[in-house]
């Protein structure tokens, strides 16, 4: 079942989604419709799959009206035998001019049995638009680890710091106790 949000003219929605162990992953299928000029979406998501989870996130953002803005930022860390996929579509309807739509999705793989998939998609039928998406998958940078370890920071702690900084753009949006919950999970990854 997908959860649908409808934004009319001038409405703004800020949403932060968490997919971490210990919480229900109920909003995995999201659809946001920007129906009137001036509507704005600011969406961020964070996923942690430390063991053997299987996660499929699907986000559809529809610019049905012109002069709307949408931003999306997803960050995830996948370890163990987990599998995570992000499927994000930005749809700009014909005549939705002056649209601005941005999407970013980044993931990090921690183990050789983990898998990450990204499907960032753009479907655009108007010309006066500014749209972009970026997707990366990678690993924790060994040079950074070496830098920290040569200064006396243990390997495990160095990795944790790397993960904290990687997730910071999303964790900064969380309140204190939720952030603490996320950091706690990180220290066990």
């Amino acid at each position: 079942m997908s959860k649908v949000y409808n934004l009319e003219a001038g409405e703004k929605l800020t949403l932060t989604l968490l997919y971490v162990p210990g919480r229900p992953w109920d909003e995995r299928d999201i659809e946001v419709n920007l129906n009137g000029p001036g509507a704005e979406l600011d969406l961020a998501g964070l996923y942690l799959c430390p063991d053997g989870e299987s996660l499929d996130i699907r986000v559809v953002v529809r610019h049905n009206s012109g002069a709307c803005l949408s931003r999306q930022m997803f960050k995830g860390i996948v370890g163990g035998k987990s599998r995570a996929s992000f499927d994000g579509l930005i749809y700009v309807a014909q005549d939705s001019q002056k649209t601005k739509a941005y999407q970013e999705s980044h993931s990090i793989l921690l183990s050789s049995e983990a898998r990450a998939e990204s499907r960032p998609q753009l479907e655009i039928y108007a010309d006066d638009v500014e749209c972009s998406h970026g997707a990366t998958t990678g690993y924790l940078n060994p040079d950074e680890q070496f830098y920290m370890r040569s200064r006396g920071i243990p390997e495990q702690e160095a990795k944790r710091l790397q993960m904290i900084s990687f997730l910071a753009p999303v964790t900064d949006r969380l309140d204190g106790s939720t952030r603490a919950e996320v950091l706690d999970i990180l220290s066990r990854m």
């Binding site: 898998r115 990450a116 998939e117 753009l122």
Partner: protein, 483 residues
């Protein structure tokens, strides 16, 4: 729009003429007898006929793919003539019909070796050409000087006769018969194409090229090309194509296979200029093509460059399987659609070997009522340690009735691999146009200037002869896009 502009726009497609030449055909339709007939005309050995029949039987059980972002007109496979060839003159069985010679002359394809050898043209611009007219190869130039170096460059049919062991070894080794619906169809009915073998350690002294021309009406063209670059060899290969203007859709379903052995380097460039249909979307070539290469040995390299301006529908994904350790591949593409054209094109990079690298640069330009999609897959298998991919897919929209789409898929199963993808969509800004207008550059010219600048990253990868043509082609294809 002033009169001059209208005149230029009216020129549309200058390769759209028909050559009046007597042709022979096999009957319309597709069944096992037709396949036997094609095979018999080409004097093929039993194993190849068996290959075709096997492919045909498998094809019959397959369904046409529908996942493309395309509105494909229904194709009646029984309403196509699968083999057409210009008749050989009984008096001059060895010579090329002057009408054909004239056709290729008109298209700017040099079939005269003499001119170059006599010094009329500079030697550096030597290009060996395999010219394919409908279902047969008309001639292959420079075969002699190439064979001195051990290079085999000939039509596919000749290769079957003269080098069956090579053809048998590599045919369908990269694109299996059942890879997809159109590849299976091609395997059953393929007519002619080029065959190329570069022996160990040989650097091919000139560009090799194939030129495909559809002439006969009611036919389809089923090109089959096989390129093998043995250890340490180097090759630059170019492909071009055109067809007459007609109100019917014609099918071009090709299969190209490239095998790159250890430390070999292949550069494959295409300028695709099939007839795109008219402004209302009548006619045009349906270009449904499977192209794939394998970097088999370590350190091998395959580079794809394509400029796609023609065809009513383009469905094409030149791909590379990076099997050898430290092998690398690139895909540079400019796809331009105008009027009612549709393109769904991109690439697949499959990383299997350690330390494999790939790079994708795709530039889409849509104008008029066209739809232009990039579709791609980057897959990193578990053992591909240290693999690296970078993809950039940009779209440029001209006009408010066209569409630009990006459908990339990234699958990473290797924790030491890095995959990056970015895409942007934009239009030509008022500022850019104003800047040009201020300097006395007319709007049409300004658009062509800006688009050529936008596509420069790709165009500069083309061999020189092609780059000039591609730039002109982009300007012509854009005519009438703004007004």
């Amino acid at each position: 729009m002033n009169q001059e502009l209208k005149d230029i726009t009216g020129q549309e497609y200058k390769e759209g003429f028909v050559t009046e030449v007597e042709q022979e055909y096999v009957p319309k339709g597709l069944n096992e007898d037709i396949i036997r007939m094609i095979s018999a005309r080409k004097d093929e050995p039993q194993w190849l006929l068996d290959f075709r029949l096997d492919a045909f039987r498998k094809w019959q059980k397959m369904k046409a793919p529908t996942w493309g972002h395309l509105d494909l007109p229904p194709i009646d496979f029984q309403d196509i003539i699968y083999w057409a060839a210009p008749k050989r003159d009984a008096d001059r069985p060895k010579e090329i019909d002057p009408a054909l010679m004239e056709t290729f002359d008109k298209l700017g394809i040099p079939l005269h070796e003499r001119e170059v050898l006599a010094g009329v043209k500079p030697k550096e611009s030597q290009v060996a050409v395999d010219a394919v007219f409908d279902s047969v190869s008309v001639t292959t130039t420079f075969r002699k000087s190439l064979s001195e170096k051990g290079i085999i460059f000939c039509s596919f049919s000749e290769a079957v006769r003269e080098h069956p062991e090579l053809v048998r070894k590599y045919l369908a080794s990269v694109v299996p018969v059942t890879d997809n619906f159109y590849a299976a169809l091609n395997s059953a009915v393929f007519s002619d194409g080029s065959f190329c073998y570069i022996p160990k350690g040989v650097v091919c002294p000139m560009e090799l090229s194939s030129y495909f021309r559809i002439n006969a009406s009611g036919t389809g063209q089923f090109e089959r090309t096989l390129i093998i670059a043995d250890e340490g060899s180097r090759l630059s290969y170019m492909e071009g194509c055109t067809a007459p203007m007609r109100d019917e859709n014609q099918l071009h379903a090709a299969v190209v296979e490239i095998i790159v052995e250890k430390d070999a380097d292949v550069k494959y460039s295409t300028v695709q200029n099939w007839y795109p249909g008219d402004a209302q979307g009548r006619g045009g070539i349906l270009n449904l093509v499977t192209k794939r290469g394998i970097c088999k040995g370590s350190g091998s390299h395959l580079s794809w460059t394509q400029v796609e301006t023609g065809s009513a529908v383009t469905w094409k994904y030149p791909s590379t399987i990076l099997k050898g350790d430290n092998s690398s591949s690139e895909f540079y593409s400019v796809a331009l659609t105008n009027n009612r054209q549709q393109a769904d094109t991109g690439t697949k990079m499959i990383h299997i070997g350690r330390g494999t690298r790939s790079r994708i640069i795709s530039k889409g330009i849509s104008a008029g009522h066209s739809q232009n999609s990039y579709r791609g897959l980057v897959r990193v298998n578990p053992g591909a340690e240290g693999a690296r991919n970078y993809s950039q897919c940009d779209s440029l929209l001209i006009g408010s009735k066209c569409g630009a789409h990006t459908f990339p898929v990234i699958m990473n199963s290797c924790p030491s691999a890095t995959v990056e993808h970015e895409a942007t969509t934009s239009k030509i800004s008022e500022d850019q146009m104003f800047y040009c207008a201020q300097r006395g550059i007319a709007p049409e010219e300004a658009v062509s200037l800006i688009v050529n600048g936008y596509a420069r990253d790709v165009l500069q990868r083309l061999p020189m002869e092609f780059a000039v043509e591609a730039q002109k082609l982009i300007s012509v294809s854009l005519e009438g896009a703004i007004g």
